[in-house]
Point group: C2
Chain length 325, copies 2
């Protein structure tokens, strides 16, 4: 019998070897021994072949993105990563070499982020490869960052640069062939291998108020913070930080690009609000964590997210964010 157990043991087993509570993936479940005075944080993201990644995307990049989008969720809650479970629904003709490379990608990121596979389930599907990853982290009791704590008067801050994931997708589809190879590579890499802002998230405990990672798009995720906090927000489009690759494309495309940059999603930067008095402190944290932090707007009393240009005129976005369903 070429069974589930053989496959798990052979390929996924080594990824769980260093975590005692994984029980070698041979038991009915896994065990996490919580650290004292810690809350456990749990996130889940699904990825489907042909929808969230292309069938010819490198398997190790698919694995790392799946892991990293979950780590980005942990970062948005200020959590440190512990481990993850993997659900793997595969078509019967899946290439075993593909799985091997997928595992290599997981292994690479397990080393970088110091976490372990702890359990999972492998089944057959008549549909496309479907991946379900549940990640576990922890925070000191009661210190998890949440979306719901933004307050009117807060400054809206963002880490890194915005819109690279969106541009990476467009460039991958052949848009803006005139940009440099370096810029193209950079954008595609940003889309494929996002950088979860784990250490920044940890540093923001006790400081940041409304927090989210940007997966659906800056405006949509700011909308989620506002909805959870019963506030609104103003975003100054000209203050949104752009990479030099994005600036190169903006030079070609003009202001029409703004809508895509602010609503394209797949940034996996942290979006958060702070008391204006904490501004200098937060900039210092960014330096400590090796990522730039920019102020892009304010939390206000009125409902909704309003995007304005340098002259204060409202910019109408074509869509507010990526719809998963």
């Amino acid at each position: 019998m070429r069974g589930e157990f053989d496959l798990i043991a052979e390929l996924f087993g080594p990824l769980a070897a260093k975590f005692p509570g994984a029980l070698g993936l041979l038991d009915d479940g896994a065990i996490i021994r919580p650290r004292p005075d810690r809350d456990l944080v749990i996130t889940k993201d699904l990825m489907v072949a042909g929808i969230h990644f292309a069938k010819d995307d490198p398997a190790d990049a698919v694995a790392r993105k799946l892991l990293r989008v979950n780590l980005s969720d942990l970062a948005a809650m200020g959590a440190e990563a512990i481990g993850y479970t993997l659900g793997f629904a595969a078509p019967p003709d899946i290439d075993i070499e593909w799985i091997r490379l997928f595992c290599r990608g997981l292994d690479q990121d397990q080393t970088i982020f110091d976490l372990s596979l702890i359990g999972g389930d492998t089944v057959q599907t008549s549909g496309p490869l479907t991946l379900s990853l549940t990640a576990f982290g922890d925070v000191p009791t009661g210190q998890a960052l949440k979306r719901s704590n933004a307050q009117p008067g807060d400054k809206v801050m963002v880490s890194g640069t915005i819109g690279d994931g969106y541009l990476g997708l467009e460039v991958g589809h052949g848009m803006w062939p005139g940009i440099s190879v370096e810029h193209r590579m950079y954008l595609i890499e940003r889309l494929r291998i996002p950088e979860p802002r784990i250490s920044l998230g940890i540093s923001l405990r006790g400081i940041a108020r409304g927090v989210a990672d940007i997966s659906d798009g800056l405006v949509a995720d700011l909308g989620h913070i506002c909805a959870a906090s019963r506030t609104g927000a103003i975003v100054h489009a000209d203050q949104v930080p752009l990479s030099s690759a994005a600036l190169a494309i903006e030079a070609i495309e003009g202001p029409g690009l703004t809508s895509g940059l602010l609503s394209g999603g797949d940034d996996y930067e942290l979006l958060f609000t702070i008391d204006p008095d904490d501004h200098a402190r937060v900039s210092d944290l960014g330096k400590k964590c090796g990522v730039a932090i920019a102020e892009i707007g304010q939390i206000v009393n009125t409902e909704g997210v309003q995007v304005v240009d340098a002259g204060g005129q409202t910019i109408k976005l074509e869509r507010s964010g990526y719809s998963h369903f």
Copy 2:
């Protein structure tokens, strides 16, 4: 925008309303505050439409089975249920009424088993509906039951009756039309809505040694216990407890049925080994938990699982268990 967030809020939201750490399903993750001196136990099971359930199976039964197969894994580790996350990859044409009924099934079992939805992810798929459930429970620190503690000389015990899930599947396909409607209903119900032995699992802490729930089939899962414990086992086929419905079919089919009963899977009974001195104590626990416990064999030093008939002759099984992959 008819987005992920609307769907989650409308249909799945109420299932998470009573669990503060679910944060209304509106945040990047969920929070579990561990009880002091407890280990967290995590299980995961995937179900794919057309493979693990039929497209015309009632949605509430699908939901309850998905939840219960995970609760059965928690039971096998002696854990008490806390909550679960749900991954929901749905085709674009999924009937909203189907999801509504699915949620009703979850709601029903949340009440019965006192647990809550705490988070999840909803995405679109070009394939069949794919469900991924990760369940969380806890046990006193260090007391989780495991597969790996079976010892030569142990008695092999099983709860409830074996083979009903297998027979439910066959009867659903039109086999043995001569049996009574009551028996047919019973078998199909056993397949559709398994009964996780949560309270028995809790009672077995500190008593049972090698433990598993029977999902792949009695012989296969006993094989997993033996492999994890580096032992073997002998099963006396005539001592394996059968329901009156199974006995009715055995009366028609004869001893040829044994192979299917012992390897068919989907029983979700607890299979466990004990010190022979604990025999009376374990029978009492079964009475306390309202489920019969039967002795069906012994753990031995030699490798593998051997099934013997009343005369001590080895019975060769057609297959050792359900292969998930």
